[in-house]
């Protein structure tokens, strides 16, 4: 293996110094002269007609510059299913419906104005259970539809599941439930919208999808009668995302409308309660799964049916089935797979992307079921998984072409570190669960591309303009690393700019753990071009053919005679300051050679796939039901770790988020209302709850990944819940089928088991 200078090293995140000194600017910190503060009035009912809104008192309050309701804005529908509007008129369909908005000279006045708006509602019968909402005669959430079931194509069948079921020696069936959890980014949502004198729009935003958001905002501007305008998105420092910024929210459109109405910049920032109530978290699901294997333990079929509570409006939650298909069809070798998902409107909150995007939900079902099947046939749960594990070079029923695959190695490492099969104290148990996730981009849209523009200046410093988004995960740093490595410059001399659509090229978005793979390959493409031209220039100046030259630490030197060297800056200055001078710039658009899924959902969605296995040892307190995680091992095939320090951060953070998903987190809705919209009662894990996580990486050196790397942003939180559920089963013999596995639920299950075995 070649000796690398920068790639593979634990380089600290490039913007960490700014963050450690309080210099980093988040939306909350940005002030623009003349800026107004916007606030939103939410519905007081889960389902009601809006009879009348009286904004007269609010409008008269000194300091208020605009009050908007649905009547004041052009009719404009947005979202994946085009069923959402920035302000709701006619009726409200959930407690988080935006009914009115105010812009004022300070936030306190804006809040006071909201209190002065009088809305008269006429309550309508509401529905909060998706299975109820599916029935004939259920209240219709969107009256223009004939039913609450969305017309979505989530149906997949490869092979013949019924035939396989007949042939199977062992079959298990389970129903599992997962509920709402939410991102809990430490910075709340917000944006600043402003128009210039020609009505071009600038938005300071936290978006993960700058290029797509531009398109969303342009559609809004068109609806407002502003055609052919420019949209500029400037990204402030993002205080956490995890998928929460992957869709464009009503509040963003509201900020734009208020900015247009007042002619001033308008900033909307959520408070923490709003963050819990009015942002969209992880998609809940009711999952029916059955799996079967032959007498030797080889999986024959997997049959999954899901009902998804779509809430009152549609965002990415309704598309999670397209990702859930991935583990259903391709986690382990299963020749016959079938899946159907139904999304149903209710008067609850609605969901969007959250780290894993459906994979954690589906994997909870699949891996719980795998354990049950292993038990059913009396096979060791690790052996059962090794027997069915995917391997390199295979093609799954969905058409995924697996290139590199370190799954078996991950499983074996977990088995070793957990001392699987070794002595256990009373109440202790071990569990394992595996994962597959896209690791080489994901062609979710027609494009999976990312653009890079690169320039090198007269001093040998490199500017990398990328379409990628850094939201704290370290995209800025790994891009700088691969560029520095390729060009032979020091990392201090590389600057990555990713924050302005006026300057940065196109990218489809920070989703599907694609950023390292796609953005780094894009940067490498541009870097190779720059390197080629640089060596050409050097070759002319040094009198050596380009193939005899090498670059290291910012100097070009002759391979045969290292004493013959020139500093890059000197080479460039000479090239620039001469007759017919040249500057050094390059661009590259990398669009991976993966495929869109066809109408039957077959296709090679990603260039490569990330695999992993998580193992956990727990201790269950059989009198209180409390589960303590004694040991946690997270093993991943990452292709190559471009930055082991940042990679670890992704695994630790993802795993702890997953442990919260498994044990403590739930957004509690009662008749559509969020009962715990605060950190007191929504339990994300604290420093005292943190679990020591052992990481293990397998470097399979993927040939398509930048320096061999695959994606790792999401895998950390994919198999955590089933690993823990499986360990609880091993510890006390109870199978938990609903998340979170709170002490109360664990104790209830233990008591039920005792009563049954009586």
């Amino acid at each position: 293996m070649e000796e690398l200078c920068v790639v593979g090293k634990p380089i600290p995140k490039l913007d960490a110094v700014d963050k450690a000194t309080g210099r980093a600017l988040y939306i909350h910190d940005i002030r623009i002269p003349g800026m107004l503060y916007g606030k939103i009035l939410y519905s007081k009912y889960p389902h009601a007609r809006i009879a009348h809104i009286d904004v007269s008192k609010a409008k008269k309050l000194p300091g208020v510059r605009a009050v908007l309701t649905a009547e004041d804005i052009p009719p404009f529908k947005f979202g994946f299913y085009k069923d959402n509007t920035p302000l709701k008129g006619g009726k409200v369909r959930s407690y988080r419906d935006e009914v009115a908005a105010v812009a004022a000279i300070d936030p306190d006045i804006a809040q006071e104005a909201l209190d002065l708006i009088q809305v008269h509602y006429e309550a309508l019968p509401a529905v909060f259970d998706p299975e109820e909402a599916m029935k004939e005669g259920a209240p219709l959430v969107h009256e223009e539809n004939r039913s609450n079931i969305l017309k979505l194509p989530w149906k997949m069948h490869f092979g013949d599941v019924e035939e396989a079921r007949r042939k199977a020696k062992y079959v298990v069936e389970d129903r599992l439930r997962v509920t709402w959890v939410t991102h809990c980014c430490m910075a709340t949502s917000g944006c600043i919208a402003m128009f210039d004198a020609s009505q071009n729009l600038t938005v300071y935003s936290n978006t993960q999808i700058p290029s797509l958001a531009q398109r969303d905002y342009l559609e809004a501007l068109e609806a407002m009668g502003l055609k052919g305008k420019r949209v500029r998105i400037i990204k402030a420092c993002i205080g956490g995302a995890f998928g929460s910024k992957l869709d464009t929210y009503p509040y963003e459109y509201i900020a734009i409308l208020l900015a247009h109405a007042t002619g001033k910049p308008v900033r909307i920032v959520f408070d923490r309660k709003e963050e819990f109530v009015a942002t969209s978290g992880r998609q809940p699901a009711i999952i029916d799964i059955s799996q079967g294997c032959d007498e030797n333990g080889r999986l024959l079929f997997r049959d999954v049916r899901m009902i998804l509570d779509n809430g009152a409006y549609t965002s990415w939650g309704a598309t999670t089935p397209s990702v859930m298909m991935m583990p259903i069809s391709s986690l382990y070798r299963v020749p016959n797979v079938r899946y159907e998902a139904i999304c149903v409107y209710t008067n609850n909150t609605y969901s969007q992307a959250m780290r894993g995007y459906g994979n954690p939900q589906a994997t909870f079902a699949i891996e719980s079921s795998m354990d049950r099947l292993a038990q059913e046939m009396g096979m060791d749960r690790v052996e059962f998984r090794l027997l069915n594990a995917n391997g390199p070079g295979e093609v799954t029923p969905q058409g995924f072409r697996i290139t590199t695959c370190g799954l078996k190695e991950c499983i074996e490492e977990v088995r070793r570190r957990l001392d699987w099969g070794g002595p256990k104290e009373k109440g202790e148990g071990v569990g394992i669960a595996c994962l597959i996730h896209v690791g080489g981009g994901a062609r979710v849209y027609k494009s999976d591309g990312c653009g890079t523009i690169m320039k090198m200046d007269d001093f040998g410093k490199v500017d990398v303009f990328t379409g990628a988004t850094d939201m704290g995960q370290g995209a800025d740093t790994v891009i700088a690393q691969v560029v520095a490595e390729e060009l032979g410059v020091r990392i201090e001399d590389v600057k990555v700019i990713h924050t302005d659509t006026d300057v940065c090229p196109w990218d489809v978005g920070a989703h599907a753990s694609r950023t390292t793979f796609v953005a780094c390959n894009s940067a490498l493409g541009a870097a190779r071009k720059i390197k080629e031209r640089l060596l050409e220039l050097a070759s002319r100046q040094m009198g050596e053919p380009p193939e005899m030259l090498s670059i290291k630490d910012g100097e070009v030197f002759c391979k045969d005679d290292p004493e013959k060297r020139l500093e890059i800056g000197k080479i460039l200055r000479k090239a620039h300051f001469s007759q017919g001078g040249q500057m050094l710039m390059a661009d590259f658009f990398y669009d991976p050679a993966n495929e869109n899924l066809d109408k039957s959902f077959r296709g090679n969605l990603s260039m490569t796939y990330t695999f992993g296995a998580h193992g956990v040892r727990v201790k269950v307190d059989e009198e209180t039901g409390k589960v303590k995680v004694l040991k946690y091992v997270a093993a991943h095939d990452v292709g190559r770790a471009i930055n082991p320090l940042l990679l670890e951060g992704q695994v630790y953070g993802g795993a702890l988020m997953g442990i919260g998903y498994a044990l403590t987190e739930q957004l509690i809705l009662e008749k559509g209302e969020v009962m715990n919209p605060n950190f007191r009662d929504y339990k994300i894990l604290t420093a005292k709850d943190a679990v020591p996580i052992e990481t293990y990486i397998v470097e399979t050196m993927d040939k398509d990944g930048p320096f061999g790397a695959k994606g790792i942003g999401e895998p950390g939180c994919v198999p955590t819940a089933p690993a823990i559920a499986n360990a609880i089963w091993d510890a006390v013999g109870v199978r938990l089928r609903e998340l979170p596995m709170t002490p109360e639920r664990v104790l209830a299950a233990i008591k039920e088991k005792r009563a049954n075995s009586g």
């Binding site: 634990p10 600290p12 995140k13 913007d15 960490a16 110094v17 700014d18 963050k19 450690a20 000194t21 309080g22 210099r23 980093a24 600017l25 988040y26 909350h28 910190d29 991102h183 809990c184 980014c185 430490m186 910075a187 709340t188 420092c237 993002i238 205080g239 956490g240 995302a241 995890f242 408070d271 923490r272 939201m471 704290g472 995960q473 370290g474 320090l645 940042l646 670890e648 951060g649 695994v651 630790y652 953070g653 993802g654 795993a655 702890l656 988020m657 605060n678 950190f679 007191r680 994300i684 604290t686 420093a687 005292k688 943190a690 020591p692 996580i693």
Partner: protein, 168 residues
């Protein structure tokens, strides 16, 4: 309903008028333009707004501005030396990967400072206890613990004064 207060802010004497209902967080961010201290929840449940008052970590969102009269306040902006030399805690956080999105970082570093000032050699249990009121969603905390322990080692090898106090 305003009153005059005087207090030391990051080593400098500040005299100003404050409204009775202002929190210390509002004073720092909105009146003094020190936006390093963050608001995460406004109700003392996340610790993002942590600053040190007379060396004690407090949630500035629940601390009345009027109550800093006669006291010493340290915010993240005052931690590095005037010449820009980073405090060992800042260096340790940066080098140990303890910073991702960075929103919890100012509060987290200051809570850690309050700990190390009183307990220069904490156990991991003591570090967890001191940071229990600072939520982080990105890192899973483990690299933060390493950073605090690392900082403790660095400090014991190089005793530093954070900023020289102005006594005029």
């Amino acid at each position: 309903m305003a009153r005059r207060i005087s207090f030391l802010l990051n080593g400098e004497l500040v005299e100003m008028e404050v409204e009775d209902h202002w929190t210390l967080l509002h004073l720092l961010r909105e009146e003094l333009g020190l936006t390093g201290t963050k608001e995460g929840c406004g109700s003392g449940e996340c610790g993002a707004c942590t600053v040190l008052v007379d060396g004690m970590a407090v949630n500035s969102c629940l601390f009345l501005a009027a109550d800093v009269d006669g006291k010493e306040v340290l915010t993240i902006e005052g931690l590095a030396a005037p010449d820009g030399t980073l405090h060992p805690l800042q260096r340790a956080f940066i080098e140990n990967g303890a910073i991702q999105c960075g929103f919890c970082t100012p509060g987290m570093i200051l809570s850690a400072k309050a700990l190390l000032d009183k307990n220069p050699n904490p156990t991991e249990e003591e570090i967890r206890h001191a940071l229990a009121g600072n939520l982080c969603r990105c890192t899973g905390y483990l690299q933060i613990f390493r950073a605090v322990a690392d900082a403790a080692r660095r400090i014991s090898q190089e005793p530093i004064e954070v900023f020289p106090r102005r006594t005029d």
